[in-house]
Point group: C2
Chain length 219, copies 2
């Protein structure tokens, strides 16, 4: 039986949504390992729209997280509110600012962030069912918020300010390179820095492939 | 000296822009082979905007091909009008409907299509300089239009209608699976079906990796 993994996207584009390279390499690694995927995203408006050429916010434009995530998913995507923990064997959150702007608001609130209720629900339910949860790039901040009371071991690479914010949420931060990952076996949480420190796609892919392997091993 | 390859994008999303999986896997394969990339796109409006969740056109919305392509490029992108053939060792066109809607209008005009003038200029100049040009998925239709008078050997997989349109443009169509590619060594043109026939990411990646290897070998 192929393992089925929920992939939670947060839009489409590093500055206002899911990081596209991280998302695709995650999907590729899962397919190469024979896993099935259930791609999902919250059906909410993005925090904002960033012009990725200029880097500036586009005044007055709105985009929907589920609709934009559907670009990465080629239309094969579900609203996260329809996804139940019993339908999957594990869950992974690619990064990009969308993970810290649309799935939670860590990008603007830091340690005072709140998590989208449906994202928090699914992540909690998967975890409570004893199934593994992986998060890459900045997405471990969301895990720190949701599971901070369990003092999980997580990584966002080696950025001191972000690491301190994760620790203030209750996590124990472990420094890690983009080619590696951190696994908290007790809590079945796997994290990897990805573009928090990766210098290119080959380096990025190495860390994500190892993360996906660890996720499937624990699933 | 690392070889430098122009990657020509056509937006961000399979139905109205560059196919995201094909684009990222192309960039990953190039990085893994130690190549440098120069990502570019035409600075023009998309033919239209498709909601990738519903599959329907979004009335009244416009998006710019260069700005949306910048999402895949993480902002590191140039207008194709600024790119000269002498700056690169080869060129590759990922697919997606954007290649047939924004780089040319093959998706609506078939064999009567016209190619964006700046895209046609760069592709012609790279070819005239004796450098290889690769195209995947539906993008070989653009090569058939530009190079039809040379009777190039190209593939778009095994879709009969599309293959006939390429032949009416002057190309010789070769059937090919998504895991393989066709190389016209005389004209230094490499083509592969990608999502014209691939059933998943692992299959997709195999064909694209082989295409990139052939491109770099000829570059």
């Amino acid at each position: 039986m192929a393992k089925k993994i929920a992939v939670v996207l947060s839009g489409c584009g590093v500055y206002d949504g899911a990081e596209i390279h991280e998302s695709v390499i995650t999907l590729l690694a899962l397919d190469r390992q024979g896993a099935e995927v259930l791609i999902c995203a919250p059906d909410v408006e993005q925090m904002h729209v960033i012009n990725h050429l200029s880097g500036e916010q586009v005044a007055g434009e709105t985009r929907n997280v589920l609709v934009e995530s559907a670009r990465i998913a080629r239309g094969e995507i579900s609203s996260i509110s329809s996804v139940q923990a019993e339908s999957v064997d594990g869950l992974i959150l690619p990064g990009g600012f969308g993970a810290a702007k649309n799935l939670c608001d860590f990008a603007v609130k830091g340690a005072d962030c709140e998590v989208n209720p449906e994202v928090a629900r699914l992540v909690r339910e998967v975890h409570a069912a004893g199934k593994p949860v992986a998060a890459i790039c900045i997405a471990p901040a969301l895990l720190a918020k949701v599971f901070g009371d369990e003092s999980p071991e997580l990584t966002i690479g080696n950025d001191t300010g972000t690491a301190e914010a994760l620790e203030s949420l209750g996590a124990k931060h472990i420094e890690c390179s983009a080619r590696e990952f951190v696994v908290d076996r007790k809590r079945k949480l796997i994290t990897s820095p990805a573009y928090m420190s990766a210098g290119g796609l080959a380096e990025l892919a190495e860390g994500i492939e190892k993360t996906v392997d660890a996720l499937l091993e624990l699933a």
